[in-house]
């Protein structure tokens, strides 16, 4: 499978001094392939999250298309796009993203039930074990630390084996050991056939990348 961005751009309404809009992402051409890990770095505010959310079908672009196997995501109805996201996409958002009324394990298995898949209990347990949160399976998210929540959302994204993974600074609040582990797990996911898109400030991440990208003031550069 491939996800192709063509002239994908985002403008926000905002007074920037010289204009009354902000070009958060200049037109981007980019293709994500199965089995490939892309790593995007760049300064804060350069437009990384904006690009990621557009690719992940969560933010309609001002211009351009993002097409999954030739089908533009944003030409679909909301229900159609949501179904597609549930089936093929997994997102590890930048902020906190636990559903507080579900336990850790329920959070992790929820996306599969949305996609109508069998609960991937085995894979979930294996990943939780590796990331050291298996004993937290029946705990409420409100009782977890930031790093534990982050690891929960990583397992939640990866357990059901999605075709596309979008990770927005997945290692931001993790220690060195867990950072290396997480990047390794994301790389494995790519090797198993997923397309992985990681936004990170982590220098080590470059070593895992098949494609390394950098963003600066809304413009995307291949390195």
């Amino acid at each position: 499978m491939e996800l192709a961005a063509c002239g994908l751009a985002k403008r926000f309404r905002r007074n920037t001094g010289d204009a009354n809009f902000l070009e958060a992402v200049h037109p981007v051409d980019l293709t994500m392939h199965s089995g490939e890990m892309m790593v995007l770095t760049g300064r804060s505010g350069s437009g990384k999250t904006t690009l990621l959310t557009m690719l992940a079908g969560l933010l309609p672009p001002s211009d351009g298309t993002a097409a999954l196997d030739g089908k533009d995501l944003y030409s679909l109805s909301d229900a159609g796009l949501s179904r597609m996201r549930a089936r093929h996409f997994a997102v590890i958002p930048q902020g906190a993203s636990a559903v507080t009324s579900m336990t850790v394990m329920e959070n992790i298995l929820f996306p599969a039930s949305l996609a109508g898949k069998d609960p991937p209990v085995r894979q979930a347990e294996t990943l939780m074990e590796r990331l050291g949160i298996l004993k937290l399976r029946n705990v409420w998210p409100g009782e977890l630390s930031g790093g534990e929540l982050r690891r929960m959302s990583i397992v939640r994204a990866l357990a059901a084996g999605p075709d596309f993974v979008f990770a927005d600074e997945p290692t931001a609040d993790l220690d060195d050991g867990n950072t290396a582990l997480t990047l390794g797990i994301l790389k494995e996911t790519a090797l198993e056939g997923s397309a992985v898109f990681v936004v990170t400030h982590d220098r080590e991440a470059a070593a895992y990348a098949d494609v390394l990208l950098r963003m600066d003031a809304g413009k995307l550069y291949k390195i």
Binding site: A86, V91, A115
Partner: protein, 400 residues
Amino acid sequence: MTPRKLPMRNILRHPGRTASLTVLVAFLALSLFSGSVIVMSLMSGLRSLENRLGADLIVVPATSRGKIDPEKIYLQGTTGYYYMSASKLDEVRAMEGVVQASGQVFLASLRADCCSMPIQVIGFDPATDFTIRPWIGERMKTDLGKMEVAAGSRVNAGVNETIRIYGQPCLVAARLDESGTGLDTAVYCTMETMAELLSAAREMNHELKIDGDPAGVVSAIYVKTHPGEADRLAGEIRQTRSPKVTVIQTRTVTSDVERSLGGVSHTIAVLIICVWLLDLVLLTAAFLLLGGERRREFAVLRSLGMSRRDLAYLALKEAALISFFGGMNGIFLGLLILLPFSGLIEQALGLPYLRPGWPTMLALCAASLAAVCAAGPGAALLSARKLSRADIGTIMREGT
């Protein structure tokens, strides 16, 4: 956890939020349910009063008017006694335009004979009666024998029990249907029995003034007239002397009641509408306010693959569940208030009050619940719309 079970889980995991919304919804149910029960009770009270009265004119001794308001006996069950010679009955019966005339004798029992409060004993003449027998007949096939009584629904004595009235044992031969009026606290017997009771009462209570033979007195004369003759006959009867009498036209009693009933129902309806408007505004505001806190939660669910429709469904189903709980609570509270205190409500309103039967009550419960289950999600609509429309990309970046 599946999307279908999520609404219930959200409700259970947020008891504070759930409780506050439930209270607001319960008020909707309580006001609608109890309001309509009260209005219906008043209407059936009036209808039963009209049926039970059955007479066009009621004639009582003039002196009694000062002491006791005869209207009160029918509407509220005030007990009293006043007598005149039965010759008055013959005089009235002989008048032109009278279809039927029948006498009744009233006696207030002493307390403690059977009941915690004094009860009204009403003697009637089975041969001429047309106001009591149709009603008693519904419950009793054979006629009342000597020293037998039929007990009103609020008299605390079962069939075949013996109660003592002024020391005289009386067998309860039947219990009557509820009428919602003062008639419910009375027992009924024939004139023959009444004469015995009057003699006994005169022995025990020297203030009871009966001239002559107790068998020869009546307290009230019930008159059925030819159509359109009631006004003329009332005037004619008022002219008669020895003794002077007061004539009550039942149509004025019931139309008085009807008028105040109209006022009360109107007030209740306005109250219900005010409560609903206020409560719906509050409820909508509460849903919006609580929805504000849930923007991030909904954005997360959306990022996991839920569609706008899924989210709207989630929000509305939560509202519907809360409405159901709240509605049940409100109705339950309504029953708790209405069932034990219907006597107090009747007293406070001063109108005949007859609670509808259980089938009607159940229908009212169901209708109130249905109304609330529609109103709750209705109030949540705006919030559900806002939550499901929100731009996820933006919310997801709004920090932690």
